[in-house]
């Protein structure tokens, strides 16, 4: 092993044999794949499949138990109406959770925006369209505050939104002075605010514009998340923010954008909320954060970010809707619904874990 400059610019001797080595990378294939493994493989590659299957199964089961009262176009569209708000808020929550964050303040932003839309119209006499815009602006501002605290100050999203949840909610109560604006007044003076509550029928099926808004929003976000660079970047951030930054994703501005977008979607939910309950009430939407997280979790989206499909969230919300209506129609105590939804949440992640483990 004497070292001379002649030895430079030449590989070490033992490396010369490499030219003869096998060129294939070590590659282990399982002996044979069972049907179960095939199923796992399929479920692994399509993250929204499990919630879809659960949804269909629960529809069938409740349909079999309850019969036509449940299994009608009318009932089905009723579930859609009941789920619309959670579905829209869930879309906002999905964006945030895909970046490995969490937004506990969604419900507070929603109700604050709806209150602004109502109060700006009735307290200050602004034209409804302008008030709606102001509501969106407030939603965006709330989201911006969350986004800056998370991305620029680098604070954990759970804690940031735990704090802003209380702040936005208190602001809502202080600003609104707890005043409800009546449905009849809104209907008479500012029907635009109730736009998303308007219904139309196709046969027995009854739709509201709120339902349409939810479906379009989810479809749009699905497209954006899966077919644009922005969507890929969002997944990359949730996957590993450091890696995303180093491979050229502008993490900070992206995160701010995501939270602002989440705020805007919550404002949209606030507008739909006025349509749904008719009036503007500062006490509405108290459980929107838990309900939206529940939809996301049952929809198979990972709380650690980067994995899952927004369609799964929609199915998750619908599963909760089917259970709620189904159990009420059977006539069980409402507490049984909570109990079952709790079990469903745990089951959903357990299945998800199982698929991931075996099909890794």
């Amino acid at each position: 092993m004497s070292e001379t400059s002649a030895g430079l610019h030449r590989p070490q001797e033992f490396e010369s044999v490499l030219s003869g080595s096998e060129t294939s990378v070590a590659n282990f294939e399982p002996e044979r794949r069972t049907a179960l493994q095939h199923a796992q493989q399929f479920l692994h590659s399509s993250p929204a499949a499990v919630p879809l299957i659960v949804l269909v199964a629960s529809l069938v089961i409740f349909g079999a138990i309850i019969g036509g009262r449940f299994f009608s176009a009318f009932s089905m569209t009723l579930i859609l109406q009941q789920v619309a708000i959670v579905g829209i808020v869930g879309a906002a929550q999905t964006l945030v959770i895909l970046t490995a964050g969490i937004d506990l303040s969604v419900g507070a932003i929603m109700v604050l925006s709806s209150v602004v839309m109502g109060q700006f119209t009735f307290r200050y006499g602004l034209p409804p369209a302008l008030s709606v815009l102001c509501g969106f602006a407030v939603g965006a501002l709330c989201g911006y505050i969350n986004g800056v605290l998370v991305s620029v100050m680098k604070l954990p999203p759970f804690i940031v939104t735990l704090g802003t949840w209380q702040i936005f909610l208190a602001t809502n109560f202080l600003y609104s002075a707890n005043e409800t604006i009546r449905s009849q007044e809104i209907g008479a003076q500012a029907p635009l605010l109730q736009f998303f509550g308007e219904t139309f029928k196709i046969g027995n099926a009854v739709f509201t514009y709120g339902v349409i808004a939810m479906v379009l929003l989810v479809a749009l976000l699905w497209y954006v998340l899966n077919h644009t660079a922005w969507g890929r970047h969002l997944h990359a951030i949730g996957d590993d923010p450091e890696a995303a930054k180093l491979s050229g994703v502008r993490v900070r501005p992206m995160l701010v954008t995501v939270y602002v977008l989440s705020g805007l979607i919550c404002a949209l939910a606030g507008w739909c909320l006025i349509g749904r309950i008719g009036s503007v009430s500062p006490t509405a939407g108290q459980f929107a954060n838990i309900e939206s997280i529940t939809a996301v979790v049952i929809g198979g989206i990972s709380l650690f970010g980067g994995r899952g499909s927004i369609l799964g969230m929609l199915f998750g919300a619908l599963i909760v809707g089917v259970f709620s209506l189904g159990l009420r129609l059977i006539g069980t105590d409402p507490q049984w619904t909570y109990l079952l939804i709790g079990a469903l949440i745990i089951l959903a992640v357990a299945i998800d874990q199982w698929i991931r483990k075996v099909a890794a």
Binding site: R69, F70, S75, L78, Q81, Q82, F173, A177, N178, E179, T180, R182, S183, Q184, E185, G197, T199, V206, T208, L273, R276, I277, G278, S279, S281, P282, T283, A284, G285, Q286, L325, R328, L329, G331, D333, P334, Q335
Partner: protein, 317 residues
């Protein structure tokens, strides 16, 4: 001399009913020169916050406290502490259990309030009352006493056998389509109405625990396109509710008087602080009845009522 300090503790500070109660108390306190502090729970049922509030009042050296208890049984030991500290305790709106745990109770007769709308609904339906289909939109799964009193009062008024008068849900009258819970807000009212309509689309009478729930129920009926075939009755008498009566969304509502309750309470505390005199209950009842009036624009025979214009003059919120 230091001004008299009085405390007002409500179930929440977000429900308009309590907001108005607070306004009434504040206004009267200002007139009388009483230093009023108000507290509330975070949500309906949050008894711990009320306990903490009572303790604060004791620490604050208040002369009296008014409370709408979230947990009418559970709050009693804390109330006792306040009384031991020499305070006058007035239960507002909701009687404690036992009622004599407080020095006085200023309240609406909730069973009577329910009975009035029950009678009105029965009288308005006339013969059709025999095969009415009734939906009950209740408050919470825990059946708080207001819920029970109003619900069972309505049944008495309508002519339904209540069985155990202290329990909702043990009735077997075929006219009852079902009960669902609303949490006393619009959202819950709408969803509960939808669920019950799903059970039986022929519902034609809806008893609602309060006016926000009634407003939500009305939205649901409107979406089903059957709002004109259904009688909604409610209890509260807040201004939005009375206007809903005027607009025909609510058929009749039993109006109660929270501002007056609170104002009377403040006066009682002031009197007590000055000469130690405690308020006396209304004759024939074990509480100071602050009154209840039926508000409707379609008066029914045999049920005393005022119209919505008169109701609007006395409404709160």
């Amino acid at each position: 001399q230091e001004p008299v300090t009085a405390c007002l503790i409500t179930k929440t500070d977000t429900n308009p009913f309590f907001v108005k109660m607070k306004e009434g108390a504040t206004a009267r306190a200002k007139e009388l020169g009483v230093n009023l502090k108000s507290y509330a729970g975070k949500i309906d049922g949050d008894s711990e916050s009320q306990v903490a509030a009572i303790e604060t009042c004791i620490a604050d050296g208040a002369k009296g406290l008014m409370i709408t208890a979230s947990d009418t049984k559970g709050i009693v030991p804390s109330i006792q502490k306040a009384r031991d500290a020499g305070m006058l305790v007035i239960a507002l709106d909701t009687p404690l259990e036992p009622a004599d745990a407080a020095d006085a109770t200023f309240a609406t007769d909730n069973r009577l309030a329910g009975k009035l709308i029950g009678q009105w609904a029965a009288a308005t339906l006339g013969d059709k009352a025999k095969d009415a289909k009734i939906a009950f939109l209740d408050l919470t799964p825990s059946q708080p006493s207001v819920d029970v009193l109003r619900d069972q009062g309505f049944m008495e008024g309508f002519g339904i056998d209540v069985k155990d008068g202290n329990r909702i849900g043990d009735e077997d009258d075929a006219r009852i389509v079902g009960h669902d819970i609303t949490n006393g807000n619009e959202e819950g009212g709408r969803q509960a109405m939808e669920n019950l309509l799903q059970k039986d689309p022929g519902i034609n009478v809806v008893h609602t625990i309060n006016e926000p729930a009634a407003a939500g129920a009305y939205e649901a009926l409107k979406a089903f396109g059957i709002q004109d075939n259904v009688l909604i009755v409610s209890i509260d008498g807040g201004c939005p509710g009375v206007r809903n009566v005027a607009d025909g969304a609510i058929g009749a509502t039993s109006q109660q008087y929270p501002l007056q309750m609170a104002a009377l309470g403040v006066e009682a505390i002031k009197t007590f602080a000055e000469n130690g005199e405690k308020p006396k209950p209304t004759a024939g009842k074990d509480f100071v009845d602050t009154g209840v009036t039926l508000v409707t624009d379609k008066p029914a025979p045999g049920v005393e009522s005022i119209d919505s214009k008169a109701g609007l003059g006395k409404c709160w919120g």
